[in-house]
């Protein structure tokens, strides 16, 4: 199937009334949680995933993806009006966005954030559509050793950029691998780490861990009292939200920079939208004719990072859909969702599930248009959400978490596990253990063990099979990445990137 006919099929899927409703629902919900500081897309997608089991999978995926990229649009509103990022990917937007708002240009900043997000987000989807099919073809040549090495490389990248302490990130990943290996070993039917509990023979559902660590852990981490926020006013009228012609002219390069950097960083597992936005901001400032204006309300300082964090979505979906390798906590949950619905993200995904792949791609074009249309006139309404007090939100989050986990297996034992993983999430937050490596270790643990054992079965236990050309290059790269902390200068760059993410 060529790209054009694939896209045509995608629009046929995405434009059905039911899927359009799911797309609107996803992007609105995404914007709302993007606006609310403290509640992220990972927690929301994890909480809602069990409730989507009764839905048609393509529509459900369209909605969950809408939450993922919609949150990035919403995150900028809080950054600009409150100087607090709604999402970690909008941190850098605080720098110039808030300064613009203080100078009475909140409308232009919000408008530019929406326009840049739209342009770069659409670019990201376009690139996803162009890059994913050939990459999938290329990866058809991969077998178990290559897959094992690829997963090791993916995990190494995530671990490297997950936290200032590489040791803690690695330990977090190892705990994820441990949880993944609970239950019956499918090769030998041996029960592993079940503690004599029948409920654990099938293993621990990924979703319980994800909701516990992200949603319940987030509530526990945010429960301390906070000062009420001082929100700057949003100008009334659509005209006051539109950037001037001069603003648009100044941001031409920022659109291109944000789009390219965002997409390229997105492809790399672990890097994520926060790093993409910081990089594009740095490049924008470095190449600007008036760098002295950055930090004091330069509109390019809003356009470049907001563009980058939205283009990153398209990039992040490339390895997820074509190789089955997620690069972040959120994409790990999306991978789990696809697997739970019976899909197999990987080289054959586009070929085997064209309606899902192309439907998703087409829905993202539609979703980006919807977000632009929704965000400009409704930004004042979304800003009102910042006045919702935390004490009203926390019971809601805990309630949805309980319902979501109970929907998985109608088991109170699962709810007990949820409480346990909630406490683990809180402890990890307080002790500076990053959650992303744990979730990725959990998602990749099973396929990684399977790929390794299959490789060694193929070679009758000879480890040399992992040193064929492709796996050896990938494994060498992973080893080099993990050695970075030993080199002072390189590690300083790594820590700087991680600090920005934090």
């Amino acid at each position: 199937m060529d790209i054009l006919s694939g896209l045509l099929q995608g629009f046929q899927v995405a434009l059905t009334p039911a899927n359009l409703v799911m797309c609107v629902l996803g992007v609105v919900l995404g914007t709302v949680i993007g606006v609310l500081p403290g509640l992220g897309p990972s927690a929301t997608i994890a909480m809602l995933l069990p409730l989507t089991f009764r839905l048609e999978p393509t529509g459900a995926m369209i909605m969950l993806a809408g939450i993922y990229y919609g949150a990035k649009y919403g995150g900028s509103t809080t950054s600009i009006l409150l100087n607090v990022p709604g999402e970690s990917s909008s941190v850098v937007t605080c720098i110039d966005g808030y300064q613009m708002a203080r100078k009475g240009r909140a409308g232009a900043a919000l408008g530019m954030a929406a326009i840049a997000s739209f342009i770069a987000g659409t670019f990201g989807v376009l690139m996803l559509m162009l890059v994913a099919p050939p990459l999938a073809e290329l990866s058809l040549a991969f077998s178990s050793p290559e897959y094992f090495a690829l997963m090791v490389l993916g995990l190494a990248l995530v671990v490297l950029l997950a936290g200032a302490s590489l040791t803690k990130a690695l330990l977090s990943m190892l705990v994820g691998l441990w949880i993944a290996s609970m239950g019956t070993d499918l090769f030998t039917a041996t029960s592993r780490f079940t503690f004599g509990r029948v409920e654990l023979i099938g293993g621990i559902e990924f979703i319980i861990v994800a909701i516990g660590v992200f949603a319940v852990g987030e509530v526990l981490g945010n429960i301390e009292p906070k000062k009420p926020a001082d929100v700057l006013p949003v100008p009334k009228g659509l005209r006051n939200l539109l950037p001037t012609r001069d603003d648009m002219k100044r941001c031409r390069f920022a659109f291109l920079n944000g789009s390219l950097i965002g997409f390229l960083i997105g492809i790399l597992p672990g890097a994520g939208s926060t790093i993409a936005s910081f990089m594009s901001y740095g490049i924008e400032k470095g190449l600007s004719r008036h760098p002295e204006e950055f930090g004091h309300g330069a509109i390019e300082g809003v356009a470049a990072p907001e563009g980058a964090n939205n283009a990153e979505t398209g990039g992040a979906l490339v390895p997820l859909l074509t190789l089955g390798i997620p690069g972040s906590g959120t994409t790990a949950i999306l991978l789990a969702a696809l697997v739970l619905w019976g899909f197999k993200p990987g080289p054959l995904f586009i070929h085997d599930s064209p309606a899902m792949f192309w439907g998703l791609v087409a829905s993202m074009y539609i979703g980006n248009v919807l977000l632009l249309v929704l965000n400009l006139p409704l930004v004042a309404v979304f800003a009102q959400l910042l006045k919702v007090p935390g004490y009203a939100m926390y019971p809601l989050i805990l309630g949805v978490s309980l319902v979501g986990v109970y929907a998985v297996g109608s088991s109170l034992f699962h709810l007990g596990l949820l409480a346990l993983f909630g406490l683990l999430g809180y402890a990890m937050r307080k002790l500076d253990y990053p959650a992303a490596p744990l979730v990725l270790g959990l998602v990749l643990g099973d396929p990684m063990e399977k790929a390794l054992r299959q490789s060694l079965m193929m070679s009758q236990g000879d480890l040399a099979i992992l040193f064929r050309p492709i796996p050896s290059v990938l494994l060498a790269l992973a080893a080099l990445l993990l050695l970075i902390p030993l080199f002072k200068k390189l590690n300083a760059v790594r820590v700087q990137m991680v600090d920005k993410e934090a």
């Binding site: 040791t167 705990v175 290996s181 909630g422």
Partner: protein
């Protein structure tokens, strides 16, 4: 050495070293390499071993760290609030067996709003009761998603 006792890295490192030791011990009971290839103990033995080594490195780092670079002391007030909320969450799950989802959830919501956030009853009660009714109406009635049932409801 004394400051290590107050360091989170020290205690979390010890806990993870214990977990790693348990994983290695358990994995040693399973086949490492059989005739068909690696057995059930192969993978856990490797990551369990790695966990022991890394967690001991973390402990050593915490012990050898100079006093000035030790992480700030625990804020007991915040920790207490989080643990109180968690205890209420656990109690809510335990209560579901008896009183079902709606009442257990209403009690949890009331606790968070009235006790933890110290809001007046005119705020706490509507959130608790309204929330429980809304959850029941949305999930049980509208979406046909089963909620936990108790002995009576």
């Amino acid at each position: 050495m004394i400051h290590s006792w107050r360091n989170g890295d020290f205690w979390s490192g010890l806990a993870l070293a214990a977990l790693g030791t348990y994983i290695v011990t358990a994995a040693r009971r399973w086949t490492y390499m059989g005739e068909d290839g690696p057995g059930a103990g192969f993978f856990p033995l490797w990551y369990g071993g790695a966990m022991v080594v890394l967690s001991l490195l973390l402990v050593a780092g915490a012990v050898l760290k100079r006093r000035a670079s030790v992480a700030p002391a625990v804020r007991w007030g915040d920790l207490g609030r989080a643990l109180a909320c968690w205890a209420a969450f656990v109690a809510c799950i335990a209560l579901m067996r008896v009183v079902g989802f709606a009442i257990a959830f209403a009690l949890l919501a009331w606790f968070i709003v009235a006790v933890m956030a110290r809001r007046p009853q005119r705020v706490a009660l509507p959130i608790a009761i309204g929330g429980a009714v809304a959850f029941y109406a949305l999930f049980e009635l509208a979406l046909d998603v089963a909620l936990p049932r108790g002995m009576f409801f």
